[in-house]
């Protein structure tokens, strides 16, 4: 199995004003030195709390936003050093389902055209067969023909989300980044869509990055799991390893919380600290060393962790 995607030391920093009228800026390290490899045919599930950098990572990988540092290699191509033209050609192979489907769908375009356009643009299908193909895609995502002529605002939240999923799958991409693709769907359709992803996984060689806060679904669909916190990867490895033998206190807390145990009130210190582990202020098992430096991600590929207490 070859490598589909490899990301190395990716960084994205946002600057925001300190106060409304000052020139001073705060730096938010949204993605802070992330490295990983995704093999073809495999799925990595990305979990982590709100604001941990999951969507920023997704946008940077597809160059929808320019990373500040790092390299991204997709199918042997160095994405950050490519001509516009070549990049455009690769676009059809890299698709994304955005977290907020409404703002990613063109409000003035009927949803039929939203899905038909990439099919025609990339010559995937002849014009006279395009309607059939679009209907087939609609079926797969559980929408019937009634919707062909609708505009996004004429649909419910979950119906729009399924249009976004259909659009991403239309061009048979080899890499799919799905940012919370099923969280706005009810269980029954969620099941249908997750099953659809599984079918595609089995019948093609698609590689996926699957961002979700629903650990049950992540566990169901992924081969590997990556745990993010504050722009960094705290733990990564094969899914059963991470699920049954979590090494990082943060991962442990996440997994406990789906077993129904209530979120334990963590210690929170409000002081600013710069050098220590990013999880230090909330960690229940911290030691003095943890406040001094950020541990590196270490270990075998099957299971890596960035924590002084586990290594």
């Amino acid at each position: 199995m070859g490598k589909m995607l490899s990301v190395s030391e990716l960084r994205k920093v946002y600057e925001v004003k300190k106060t409304a009228f000052s020139l001073k800026k705060d730096r938010i390290k949204a993605v802070d030195g992330v490295s990983f490899e995704l093999e073809s045919g495999k799925t990595i599930g990305i979990v982590g709390e709100s604001g941990s950098g999951k969507s920023t990572l997704a946008r940077c990988i597809l160059l929808l936003e320019e990373p500040d540092e790092g390299t991204i290699t997709f199918s042997g191509n160095d994405l950050l050093h490519m001509g516009k033209h070549e990049l455009k050609r690769l676009r059809k192979d890299m698709q994304i389902i955005f977290q907020d489907p409404y703002s990613s769908l063109n409000p003035r375009r009927k949803v039929f055209d939203t899905i038909a356009e990439p099919l025609l643009f990339h010559n995937i299908i002849k014009k006279k067969h395009v309607k059939e193909k679009v209907i087939e895609i609609f079926k797969k995502v559980g929408l019937d023909e009634d919707f062909l002529d609708k505009y996004p605002h004429e649909m419910s939240g979950g119906q729009r989300q399924r249009i976004a999923i259909g659009r991403a799958l239309a061009t048979n991409p080899s890499l799919l980044i799905a940012d919370e693709p099923v969280s706005s769907l009810d269980v029954s359709i969620q099941a249908q869509i997750v099953n659809l992803f599984m079918d595609i996984k089995e019948s093609t060689n698609i590689s996926m990055l699957f961002v979700s806060h629903d650990l049950n679904i992540v566990r169901f669909i992924s081969d590997e799991i990556m745990v993010m916190y504050s722009g960094k990867v705290l733990e990564m490895g094969e899914k059963d390893e991470v699920f049954y033998r979590p090494l990082h206190p943060y991962t442990e807390m996440l997994i406990d919380s789906i077993k129904g145990e209530l979120f334990k009130k963590a210690k929170v210190d409000t002081f600013d600290f710069n050098d220590g582990c990013v999880y230090y202020p909330r960690c229940n098992s911290r030691e003095p060393i943890c406040s001094k430096e950020m541990p590196h991600l270490t270990g075998e590929k099957e299971h890596m962790v960035a924590c002084f207490l586990s290594t």
């Binding site: 977290q99 004429e154 649909m155 706005s184 009810d186 029954s188 099941a191 979120f263």
Partner: protein, 326 residues
């Protein structure tokens, strides 16, 4: 009808909201009735497209045209919102009724800092000073789980993550201490830890301030933890109304049973997830009789002919299903 029961904050009665096309009308909400008591969380649950959001928008009188309320009443506090003027309605929105919209990005103003957006609501409805509204905004940001609130106060919506935006909307919705909060899938984009925090906060607001809440979700587990009563919606109708604890022990409608069975849990090594067979019918081609009968494994000939009426099963419990008719 109306204010028979003083304890009811909201009483929706035979509400029908339609989208009319050239020759026919689609009833996205079709004669639904339910009420919410003071200090109560009512869960409205159903599959995608069943009419949950349109129900919420009807109560807010924000149904997008060509959709409109074509029948029924929405009694709230001492008025019928269905017939209220736009001007009067404006005073109620944001002040007496707060709402968390389903898609956070589309309901925030992209060119205003989030702090200012919270203040705006406060200043519009409450007679308070600039300083007061600022400190109240920062307090609200803290309550919805932000650590560095002063900084968040200064950010624009596009600078926030999906979950952060959702929390801003929650802060705006509760800012004026409304008596009713309508929350449309308020936690879908949140990780478990933040979701837990937000749910506890909402619970606190309900018990601490005596707020009532209409909680719309497709996630039955949340209602199990949070709600007192539940309504199950399907194809624009409410098929079952029940008390939460009873519902999880013994759901009444066959559709409810299917929904409960498809709750996703980690079990064994299944290769595929369980789904209710069949799919939600199109609004333009609803089946005759009970709208669920094509997917129902208990369907009888009668179910194809007539739509079952409401059948009371006990106190605050009813179902629309012929299995319960005698």
């Amino acid at each position: 009808m109306g204010f028979a029961d003083n304890n009811r904050l909201l009483n929706v009665f035979d509400l029908r909201t339609s989208f009319s096309a050239d020759s026919f009308a689609l009833h996205a909400v079709d004669n639904i009735s339910f009420y919410i008591k003071k200090g109560e969380i009512y869960g409205l649950v159903g599959e995608s497209g069943c009419g949950k959001t349109i129900t919420a928008l009807s109560i807010m009188k924000l149904v997008p045209p060509p959709g409109e309320i074509v029948g029924g009443h929405i009694f709230f506090e001492d008025r019928d919102l269905a017939t209220l003027s736009d001007r009067d309605m404006e005073k109620i929105r944001g002040d007496r009724i707060g709402m968390v919209f389903q898609e956070p990005m589309t309901s925030l103003n992209p060119v205003l800092r989030v702090g200012e957006q919270i203040e705006e609501t406060l200043v519009a409805h409450k007679n308070i000073s600039k300083e007061e509204s600022k400190s109240r905004s920062i307090e609200l940001l803290r309550q919805v789980g932000f650590d560095k609130t002063e900084k968040k106060y200064l950010q624009y919506p596009h600078q926030l993550s999906g979950g952060q935006r959702q929390r801003i909307l929650i802060a705006i919705a509760v800012s004026c201490n409304p008596s009713l909060v309508i929350a449309d899938e308020p936690t879908t984009a949140l990780d478990v830890a933040t979701e837990n925090k937000i749910l506890s906060l909402l619970k606190e607001l309900v018990s601490g301030y005596g707020m009532s809440m209409l909680f719309i979700t497709h996630n039955l587990n949340i209602i199990k933890r949070l709600g007192q009563r539940i309504g199950i919606m399907y194809a624009g109708r409410i098929l079952e109304q029940n008390i939460v604890d009873d519902f999880f022990n013994e759901p009444l409608h066959p559709y409810s049973k299917g929904l409960l069975a498809s709750i996703f849990g980690i079990k064994g090594n299944e290769k595929r997830l369980k789904a209710i067979p069949g799919s939600v019918p199109r609004l333009s081609e609803l089946p005759t009789g009970c709208k669920f009968h094509p997917r129902c494994s208990f369907a009888m000939p009668l179910c194809r002919e007539e739509e079952p009426p409401i059948r009371e099963i006990g106190n605050e419990k009813w179902v629309r299903c012929f299995l319960y008719q005698n």
